[in-house]
Amino acid sequence: MKVRPYPAWITRLYVFAMAALAATGMMQMPLTKRYFISDIPGMAWTSDFFLVHKVHYLLAALLLFVIALVAVHWFRYWYERLVLTPMGMARVVILGGLVVSGCLRVYRNLPDVSLDPSIILAIEWVHLVLTMVMGGVALAALLMKCSAYAKRG
């Protein structure tokens, strides 16, 4: 059992937000009804595209809160004591891309906002591809037992 230099609750909150975002992101594809997932008791909501979309927004807000909280704490307290691990650095970069593309996605959905279709396509696919890359890197980090984002410097 490894000792982490940061509290478990922030890790768990982050993991919850990321996992739930990945799940609700996947549910943006119209597959839950086709594959009977929405027939499972308690899962009927997964075929309500608007509800899933709103839950995705709420989870994104939660993730942004956690990221901002940790970022402030990093620059105030942890900056001199902790360093990012290589796998941590990789995921921070991917996370940055996900946040930027996600925010652009939210912006695009606002009324009175019309963007060039090629820009919209780029936003959509960057978000989608980065999600898959993040999943791959996170899985690799787990398998290599180096999932910590930071260690003592």
Binding site: Q28, M29, F49, K54, F65, V66, V70, Y77, K145
Partner: protein, 341 residues
């Protein structure tokens, strides 16, 4: 009918209007007549809207025929037999390729159809014909919720589905308040990815003849209409015109506020509540009920996503978050090292 008009005038309506636009001759038109009607919209006009004066429509079907002709090259040519979809009990192919002539509803081969309503209003009988197609919403849920970016609203107000990107999941049809897009199986990207397990064709709907607008020409349904039922122009001008027309005929407007605002605005001499009751509704035959803004909650939640990081920064500086984070720094908090994504 369009051809007859050409012969009679010696110059097509389209060419005449274009000439007005290009030559600046529109300035000669009395100022009381809006520029909306008299010129072909240009890209610089921004978001375009159409006005449909239902008191003029005689139900001749010229617009339906013109739409088919203008968009024939975009219609699907599916490969058969279709893939055996999995699971067969839930996913079924939709095939209109053997029923291309159907014109009494929306199909992948019929992007515009006419609804008819015979109603009594204030002691008078009305026979109202209603051209129905995509409303081209100002904030279209079909485009906003498309997971692949296949449906997009363009800067000129057209909501268009890319047939090379669409997987045919029909999510756009489900989230559209009028369920406008129609699916054809056996065509599109899904055939090259996992044809049996994901996707089911391509969704089709009115794209407002973008290929004509790009050339400075009017959409086919507008130029073909012998009664000038439709008018296209910058949205603010169309809205003003619709309101003036409704006031003039003591009529009613539909599409102005529906779903937060659309770029297809109907003006009728009878209430739309009556029209909605009278028209034939069902699959491919949209209603005319009032529609709330289905993206309103997302718009409000966008504010939450903006405020969340600010709240995080504030929590970090103001102590609450910092105290909680510091609690775990001593090494007392442990983790298995396998729970971060």
């Amino acid at each position: 009918m369009a051809n007859e008009k050409k012969i009679m005038t010696g110059v097509s309506r389209r060419g005449f209007l274009k000439a007005l636009s290009v030559g600046g001759a529109g300035m000669l038109i009395p100022s009381g007549v809006s520029a909306v009607q008299e010129r072909v919209p240009m890209p610089s006009d921004g978001e375009l809207a159409t006005l449909l004066d239902l008191s003029k429509c005689i139900g001749c079907g010229e617009c339906v025929r013109a739409c088919r002709e203008s968009n024939a090259a975009k219609f699907p040519e599916p490969k058969k037999p279709f893939p055996d979809l999995v699971p067969a009990s839930r996913a079924r192919a939709e095939d209109w390729s053997d029923n291309r002539d159907v014109d009494d509803r929306l199909t992948p081969y019929n992007w515009l159809f006419l609804q008819n309503a015979q109603v009594e209003y204030e002691g008078e009988s009305y026979d109202i014909n209603i051209p129905r197609r995509c409303m081209h919403c100002q904030n279209p849920p079909c485009a906003n919720l498309c997971p692949f970016g296949a449906a997009n609203k363009q800067t000129n107000g057209i909501t268009k589905i890319s047939d090379s990107l669409c997987m045919g999941g029909a999510k756009c049809r489900k989230v559209c308040p009028w369920h406008i897009p129609q699916r054809q199986s056996g065509v599109g990207l899904y055939l090259d990815i996992m044809p049996r397990f994901a996707g089911n064709g391509v969704m089709y709907k009115c794209d407002r003849c973008y290929q004509l607008l790009d050339k400075g020409e009017l959409p086919a349904c507008i130029s073909a209409c012998p009664e000038d039922v439709q008018t296209i122009g910058p949205r603010h001008e169309i809205v003003a015109r619709a309101k003036a027309l409704a006031k003039e005929m003591n009529g009613f407007i539909y599409g102005l506020d529906e779903n937060g605002g659309t770029n297809t605005i109907y003006v009728s001499p009878v209430p739309f509540k009556l029209l909605n009751k009278a028209v034939d509704k069902g699959k491919g035959k949209p209603h005319m009920k009032p529609v709330i803004d289905v993206m309103a909650d997302e718009t409000n939640l966008a504010t939450a996503t903006l405020l969340a990081p600010l709240a995080g920064v504030a929590a970090g500086f103001l102590g609450f978050g910092s105290k909680l984070l510091k609690l775990g720094e001593s090494g007392n908090e442990t983790n298995g090292g396998s729970d971060e994504s």
